[in-house]
Symmetry: C2
Subunit: 277 residues, 2 copies
Amino acid sequence: MELWYTEKQTENHGITTKISKTLHSEQTDYQKLDIIETEQFGTMLVLDGMVMTTDIDEFVYHEMITHVALNTHPNPQRVLVVGGGDGGAIREIVKHSSVQEAILAEIDQRVIDTSIEYLPEIASALTGNPRVKLMVGDGIKFIRDHQNRFDVIIVDSTEPIGPAEGLFAKSFYEELYGALKEDGIMVAQTESPWFNQDLIKRVFRDIKSLFAITRLYTVSIPTYPSGLWSFTIGSKKYDPLNVSEAEIAELSTKYYTKELHKAAFVLPKFVEELLKD
Amino acid sequence: MELWYTEKQTENHGITTKISKTLHSEQTDYQKLDIIETEQFGTMLVLDGMVMTTDIDEFVYHEMITHVALNTHPNPQRVLVVGGGDGGAIREIVKHSSVQEAILAEIDQRVIDTSIEYLPEIASALTGNPRVKLMVGDGIKFIRDHQNRFDVIIVDSTEPIGPAEGLFAKSFYEELYGALKEDGIMVAQTESPWFNQDLIKRVFRDIKSLFAITRLYTVSIPTYPSGLWSFTIGSKKYDPLNVSEAEIAELSTKYYTKELHKAAFVLPKFVEELLKD
């Protein structure tokens, strides 16, 4: 018997991938959580029926949601991740020696626990790292309670339905703005330029109305809808396109490079058009 | 009843997409040819069970397989497309006013005929354009018979199994080299950097052994395996990275831009690594 996991990424389109076994399955207080072993992408974390991360392609998302902003800020010391309970973003953040404190604000303790158990390479920085602090609870409330505190905030959310819906609201970006220091930078995952054009337009406009510098960049993630994914940066002072390549520290990566830091912002024309007023 | 078309893009992974109806289905002399109407991507051409092109995302492939090479050559007059019976590459080529002759060498007349009937926007340049010539037959033989003739040759092939297998052989690139003028450029579609790494390495090495300048670039195509696709350029004289953006003519496009002309060559680190000796 062959088992295939099929995700409807839109009403009319999706991916299907062969499973060798289901490793774990539960309904947490917040969402359905499944961990499956796939033939193509290794271990896969699925929340509410949507692929969050896999062994094989996780490096793209985790490197690209972190290093662009962290290498734009000249001295990132305090960094917050909202969501991201698998720990992949935290693992990349602590590669930066300037970082003194990397806080994970994840609402679902079960995502953290099962990632540590089943995705140990992704979650490797969640245990035994004195610079990492885990805060299990509502990220929105956490941000409200920590104003003017962070150099970089990373919004590593699930899709804009279910527990993460509030992480795509303009009121949330306003709170984020307040939680950043006067030269702080935020970055959020903002879905597919092929399938989520209205969301990208709205989020870009909302972030642009608050921050001095707003930029969108894209990356290739095979297990995410359409294979093309976007991130949006809001920055109070530093422009990711003004970074000197010579000043970017060497990092051990599989996707991010100094050259790609800027090239990722060069958009296909139809994506450029989404961002025009 | 819902109908879904599922393509196994590898042994263990694929896409699935909702169909409103099957428009056409036949076994030609060379391959199985299906044209289906999908909810997500409009009309879709499928050869031997693999998506070749769709109404919605075809512009990426057709713009990016043509304009990079054509805008690298300072005066492309004679251009050959090997394969590409849907006509999308030809439609983009004739946007360049320098082009006097755009020849399509397609082995399967039925691909041309059904594209004209069911994909009229893609095939629009295949009828009634005095600069376009259709040559139905073996592209390898055609190239052998037309040495030292073309400014640009575009290898718009199907996958490297079935009728297109010979279009990925080193001996074919040698014949291509001979069919190009002394400052000619070739470009070939070279599959997914996620799923076809051995092929990309071999083809890059083979082309590099023949041409003065060899470069690989990538694009986002949602209906192709992994969503990330590569093209490899072999050039006798002109480097696509040395083109002056100011000299690139304005073209009506939805993906290609002057800025992306160069940025598309900035590769994720794991793709860069594939190209090292």
